[in-house]
Symmetry: C2
Subunit: 339 residues, 2 copies
C-alpha cells in the first residue's frame, strides 16, 4: 500500500513551499531517536539504504503533511502553524507502514525490502513504536490538534483489526463481509489519518470550528483512497506500484472490487464465488479471479464508489475551504493515481 | 520483568480505594477496542485466559496507576482527578510488555504464555498498538499530563533501544557498557513511566508546579526498580517471579550486578570476565556466572546502588509531598520485592 507518491502531488508553489518546510522538520524530529533507531527510521522513511548510505528513492512525498499545511493556509494561517501536525501525521503514517508490513508479512515496500526484512521483526517493531512516540511528542502540548491525532490512532488500530478479522471470514453466507463493514474499516484504517491531517491543519491554522467537518471529509477521502489502493492491488503494474500484484486476492483480503463483484448475480459473480471458495493458490488462479472480478462488474463498481466518496469529501472542502484549489487537486490526485 | 505484583502494594484504605476506582475505568477503556483486540487485551491484562474465559491470575496490581492517584491525593486533589492518567500509564505499561516480549523472544509472562505465544506476533503487535492508542486517547485533551506521558513514551523506546544495542556490545574493552550508560537506560526504560505517573498525578491533582520534580524522582525510582529486577533475574525464584531464571545471563544482557562485578579487579571478577567472554551456554555455565557475580561483589554493589537511587527518590517525595506515607511505602516496596 503506497499511499504517498510523486504523481499524487500537484506541481506548484504551495506544495513546494510546504515540502521545503517539512523535510528539515522531519529530519530534526527523527534525530532525537537513539542512533540505532534513527538509522532504521531513515531507512523506513526512504532517506538511506539498509547500510545507512544516502538513498534517493520513492520515500513517499508527504501527502498527509501537505494536507495539514495546505489546510492551515486555506483558513488564513501559515504553513508553519501546522508544521508539527504535518510531521506528526507523517510519523504516524511511517509507524503504521512499519507495523502493517510485519502484521501482513509483506516483504516489499516501495521497491525495497520492508523494514522488518531488512532489520528483523523486533527492531522494526521498536522503530515503529519510536516513530509513534515522536509523533505524539510533536502535539502533546497542543490539545486542539492532539485530539484528532489520537482519534486517528484509535481508528487506525480499529480499522487494521477489522481488516485482519475480515481475512478469517467467508466470502458468502450470513457471516460474509458487507460493503458497509468494508466502508467503516477503510474510513478508519485509511481515512482517520487523512482526517487528522486536515482537522489538525485547520485547528492550528486558526479555525478549530471547522476541524470536525474536515475530519469527516478525511474519512470519506480515506474510503475513496482505499478503494483506489484495492484496485491497484488487482490491476496495478507491480513495476510501478513497487509491490507484488494479486497479493490481496491470494490472502483473501476483503477488498471492495471483490465484494462488489460478489454482490452481483450474473454468471461471472457465481464463477468468482466458486473460485474464491476453493481458495486462490498460484498466479493462474489469481489471474482468473481478477478477470472474473472485472467481468462481474467489480472494477466499475469500485471506480464509481471511489468517485462518490471523493465527491463527498470535495463537497465539504468546497464549502469549508472555498479557496483551497491546491488541496482539491491533491485529493483528486490521490484517488486517480497509478501508484 | 514483572513490574507489578501484589507484595509491592501496601495494604490500607487509600490503595484499596484507588483500586476500586481504577478497575472499572480500565475495563471501560478497553471496551472501546475492536472485539478481537479487546479479547487479546483482556488476556494481556490478566482478565481472561487465551480462550476468553475469566481468569484471576497475577495480572499486575497496578503500581503505576496507584502512584498517579496517590500523587494527586498528596497535593490535595481527589484520586478521581488523576483517574485517566492512571488508566493511561497502565495501558502504556501493558503496551510495553506486549511489545517487549516480542522483541526479547520471551515466551512467558506472569506464569502464562506471553501474548505473542498465545495469539501470534502480528496480533500481539497490533494489540500493543491498540493499548497505546487507548492510552493516548485518555490524555489527548489534557496537555498538563499528556506532555509527561509523551516524554515517558520517548524514554521508553530510547531505553529499550539502548538495552538492545547493549546486547551487541562487549563485556570489556573500550566499547564496554558503562554503569553510567546503564543508569541512563534504566532511568528511561523503567523510570520514565513511573515519572509520568507521579508527574501527571500531581499535575491533574492541582499542583503542576511540582510535576517536573516528580518526573525526576520517578526516573530515580526507575533505576532502583530496574536493578531490583536485574537481581531477581539472577537470584529470584522462578516459581515466584513467573519467568525463567538466568535468561539475562544467557542472552548477555548488560545488567547492573554483572557490570558492577566486572568493574572489580579481584580473581572472581577476572574469572567472570573469562566465563562471559566465552559465552554463557547452558544452565551449568549460567549458575557458575551467577556465583562469580556474587563473589566479585556484584550483588552487594547492586543492592547498594538500588538503595541509593531509592533514597534519592524518597528525598524528593518527602520534600514535595510530605504527607504521602502510602506512596512512600509503595515506592520502598517496589525496590525491596521478591517478585
Amino acid at each position: 500500500m503506497n499511499l504517498s507518491h510523486p504523481d499524487a502531488v500537484p506541481p506548484g508553489g504551495a506544495v513546494e513551499r510546504c515540502r521545503r518546510l517539512f523535510e528539515p522538520a522531519m529530519r530534526e524530529a527523527v534525530s532525537a531517536l537513539h542512533p540505532w533507531g534513527a538509522r532504521m527510521a531513515a531507512f523506513a522513511l526512504g532517506w538511506s539504504d539498509a547500510d545507512g548510505r544516502p538513498y534517493n528513492g520513492d520515500g513517499g512525498k508527504g501527502v498527509r503533511p501537505t494536507i495539514a499545511m495546505l489546510s492551515a493556509e486555506a483558513v488564513g494561517g501559515t504553513a508553519e502553524s501546522a508544521l508539527q501536525a504535518a510531521v506528526a501525521v507523517e510519523l504516524v503514517h511511517a509507524f503504521s507502514l512499519a507495523h502493517d508490513d510485519i502484521i501482513d508479512h509483506d516483504e516489499r515496500r516501495r521497491h525495497r525490502e520492508a523494514l522488518w526484512k531488512a532489520y528483523g521483526v523486533g527492531p522494526a517493531l521498536l522503530t515503529g513504536d519510536a516513530l509513534l512516540a515522536l509523533a505524539v511528542g510533536r502535539l502533546a502540548a497542543r490539545p486542539e490538534a492532539m485530539t484528532y491525532l489520537s482519534a486517528a490512532l484509535l481508528e487506525l488500530v480499529h480499522g487494521q483489526s477489522a481488516d485482519m478479522a475480515f481475512e478469517n471470514r467467508p466470502w458468502s453466507g450470513p457471516h460474509e463481509v458487507t460493503i458497509a463493514e468494508y466502508t467503516e474499516m477503510a474510513a478508519g484504517k485509511t481515512g482517520g489519518l487523512l482526517g487528522a491531517a486536515a482537522a489538525a491543519g485547520v485547528a492550528l491554522g486558526g479555525a478549530p470550528e471547522l476541524a470536525d467537518r474536515m475530519w469527516e471529509a478525511g474519512r470519506d477521502l480515506g474510503v475513496a483512497f482505499q478503494i483506489a489502493d484495492d484496485m491497484l492491488g488487482i490491476w496495478g503494474d507491480p513495476h510501478v506500484t513497487g509491490k507484488p500484484v494479486h497479493n490481496d486476492l491470494r490472502r483473501e483480503k476483503k477488498t471492495l472490487p471483490v465484494l462488489a463483484a460478489l454482490a452481483g448475480d450474473g454468471p461471472a459473480a457465481r464463477e468468482l464465488a466458486a473460485v474464491l471458495s476453493s481458495g486462490v493458490a498460484g498466479e493462474e488462479s489469481a489471474r482468473q479471479a481478477a478477470r472474473l472480478v472485472e467481468e462481474a462488474g467489480g472494477r466499475a463498481a469500485a471506480r464509481a464508489m471511489a468517485d462518490r466518496y471523493l465527491a463527498s469529501a470535495l463537497e465539504v472542502l468546497d464549502e469549508c475551504l472555498p479557496n483551497a484549489a491546491d488541496l482539491r487537486t491533491l485529493c483528486t490526485g490521490l484517488v486517480n493515481r497509478t501508484r
